[in-house]
């Protein structure tokens, strides 16, 4: 019974991994660009929620949209202020720019919020429910289900709406999209806004359940790399499945080997995948 509980917990956290990893894979697939600060975006989402609760005693229905809104702004700022010009530069500049941004955000957060772990005070979401003998944390359940729903919504947005199709068209062939009257610049800005916003929501959802500190962004950033590598280049459904899988593997390795090994297992798996199937489980070569 306890094993089933561990599996459910892992899947619920994995759904949140899927949500923020979808943002990373979207930008990667579209611009062939890796955002090394993506984990820090998730961390900022957590602190955005934290500040809202601390100052305004906001409930989840207020601080989750606020985290999304704040991170959309951050994403647009980063895109227009930095990424757009760095994309024209050498590869070195592309990697260093978001790597520098990651350090800056992480240690700014250290400076402002200190290195201590904090957790959100209990919100309206609390307690546990029992479903056929399994105890599930309500905040965890709400977080996981919301994240899974939003990841699916992102996929539907990309495949079923006009803006989404334009975005995918730019990802497919920039020049051809331009000939069809689509402005790549706008679509890329939209991708950064969606990616950062989803990272912000994911951060707020994790913050409801788990304690956090500024250095947690690094862990989430690496987790997102693993999920994206597993799920394949630019694939949101791939990220969903890989995210659930990574959450599950983490929960099981923490359960069987001890909590210290949950990150070790994931990174080791990442190295193994790079050797065996670098294009991902569902990706194209």
């Amino acid at each position: 019974m306890i094993l089933v509980q561990v599996i459910v917990g892992g899947l619920l956290l994995g759904a949140i991994y899927a949500l923020f990893s979808s943002g990373l894979t979207l930008i990667w697939g579209m611009m062939n660009f890796i955002n090394f600060a993506h984990g820090e975006f998730v961390m900022l989402g957590m602190y955005a929620a934290f500040v809202m609760v601390l100052w305004f005693h906001a409930g989840p229905l207020a601080f989750i949209p606020f985290a999304a809104f704040a991170l959309v702004l951050v994403g647009l700022l980063v895109y227009f202020g930095m990424i757009r010009s760095v994309m024209r530069g050498p590869m070195l500049a592309q990697i260093l720019s978001t790597f520098g941004l990651a350090l800056l955000l992480r240690y700014l957060a250290f400076w402002i919020f200190s290195a201590n772990f904090v957790s959100l005070p209990p919100t309206a979401l609390r307690g546990t429910i029992r479903i056929s003998g399994i105890l599930i944390d309500v905040p965890q359940l709400v977080g996981g289900v919301t994240a899974a729903a939003l990841t699916i919504a992102m996929h539907l947005f990309l495949t079923r709406t006009r803006a989404g199709s334009q975005l995918l068209a730019v990802a497919e062939d920039r020049a051809a999209a331009m000939l069809m009257g689509i402005r790549p610049d706008r679509m890329q800005a939209l991708a950064w806004a969606v990616a950062a916003g989803s990272a912000g929501i994911a951060g707020a959802l994790i913050a409801i359940t788990y304690p956090f500190s500024p250095s947690i962004g690094e862990v989430f950033g690496l987790t997102a790399f693993v999920v994206v590598t597993f799920g394949g280049f630019g694939s949101v459904p791939g990220a969903l499945i890989a995210g659930l899988l990574i959450g599950l593997i983490q929960a099981l390795s923490a359960f069987y080997l001890g909590p210290v090994y949950k990150d070790i297992a994931v990174y080791a798996l990442f190295v193994a995948v790079l050797w065996v199937r670098p294009q991902g489980l569902m990706g194209k070569a």
């Binding site: 760095v86 990697i95 990442f270 190295v271």
Partner: protein, 332 residues
């Protein structure tokens, strides 16, 4: 030709200056700053071989530095060998790591290599921090008192200064040789366009792997000398992400992919670091890292060629101005 001999003279003057520096300023503080600068320049120059010349941005070079730092203290702990005897073992471990990371990722686009380096470096840091034989989170220590000259425990900082100077000289000499060797031309070709280089018959994967192994070996040697000097290493000081960051920022600040860039970067960053550590209260405050992050971001955004590129451009502007002014004189 004149430019080449002028550069040679510059290097000669720099080498002479480096040799006499601790004799002119013998205070322990100055020698310490000098040693820090040499270490920063040597590791950045080692990183530069793969990150600069080959354009494959490693953000996990701490794994090589850490392997180099841990092995000397490990052979001392296990068999009471003099720590410096661990240097070749560190290099062997680093070469194995280089192959482990490079073999699968060099088939793919550059991003994969960057992601793999950071993931493997983190994996190793986490593993070492839980491994009891490696001192876990506490780390390893060298001999407190030297049992003989071979333990290389000197009271004065001077011998270490010259050890690091010798290392820097070797790394720079290798880089200089690399620049004019066939491998060096291949590396620059594949940095500019991998597809074009491959179509011209450059063995792209093998070149990248060779460059990474060369870079890893030197980084490891620097780590070993660091461990011999400080007689102590823990997961953070040997394998922490800041170790990798330091190499990247020094090389990128000076000018990645150039011979002089890493040296120039160390000349700019080390004094700055000393000042910020003195006035902002050490490394713990995190302000140093905020400045690092901001600096990396600004370099990438505005001056991806580093300070050296900026200097060259300014000199170009200056050189163009002379004929322009002569032209106006003729006109008048």
């Amino acid at each position: 030709m004149r430019g080449a001999s002028l550069a040679g003279l510059g290097w000669l003057a720099l080498a002479l200056g480096a040799i006499v520096y601790p004799l002119v300023l013998p205070g322990a503080f100055y020698v310490d700053v000098g040693t820090t600068l040499l270490l920063a320049a040597a590791t950045a120059a080692a990183w530069n071989i793969i990150g600069g010349y080959a354009g494959q941005v490693s953000v996990g070079h701490a794994m090589f530095f850490g392997a180099g730092a841990y092995l000397p203290l490990l052979v001392y702990k296990l068999w009471e060998w003099p720590p410096i005897a661990g240097l070749p073992f560190g290099i062997v471990v680093s070469l194995v790591l280089a192959v482990l990371v490079g073999m699968p990722t060099f088939r793919l686009q550059g991003h994969y290599f960057s992601m793999a380096t950071i993931a493997v470096a983190e994996l190793i840091r986490l593993l070492v921090a839980t491994a009891e034989p490696l001192g876990a989170a506490i780390g390893l220590q060298g001999p407190a008192v030297g049992r003989g000259i071979w333990d290389l425990t000197f009271r004065s900082g001077l011998p270490y200064y010259y050890l690091f100077l010798a290392l820097l000289a070797i790394v720079l000499a290798t880089s200089w040789w690399l620049q004019r060797s066939r491998l060096g031309f291949y590396l620059r070709a594949l940095r500019a366009s991998e597809r074009a280089a491959r179509s011209l018959g450059v063995p792209v994967r093998r070149c990248k792997l060779l460059a990474l192994m060369l870079s890893a070996a030197f980084t490891s040697a620097a780590g070993s000398l660091y461990a011999v000097k400080t007689g102590f290493v823990d997961p953070e000081s040997g394998l922490g992400i800041l170790v990798s960051v330091q190499m990247i920022i020094v090389a990128a600040l000076g000018g990645a992919g150039t011979l002089f860039g890493p040296v120039l970067g160390a000349f700019i960053l080390t004094p700055l670091q000393t000042v910020t550590n003195t006035y902002f209260g050490g490394e713990g405050s995190g302000l140093t890292y905020i400045l690092y992050g901001g600096a990396i971001l600004l370099i990438a955004r505005f001056e991806p060629g580093g300070v050296l590129d900026l200097v060259h451009r300014l000199r170009g502007v200056f050189a163009n101005r002379i004929p322009a002014s002569e032209q106006s004189r003729h006109a008048a």
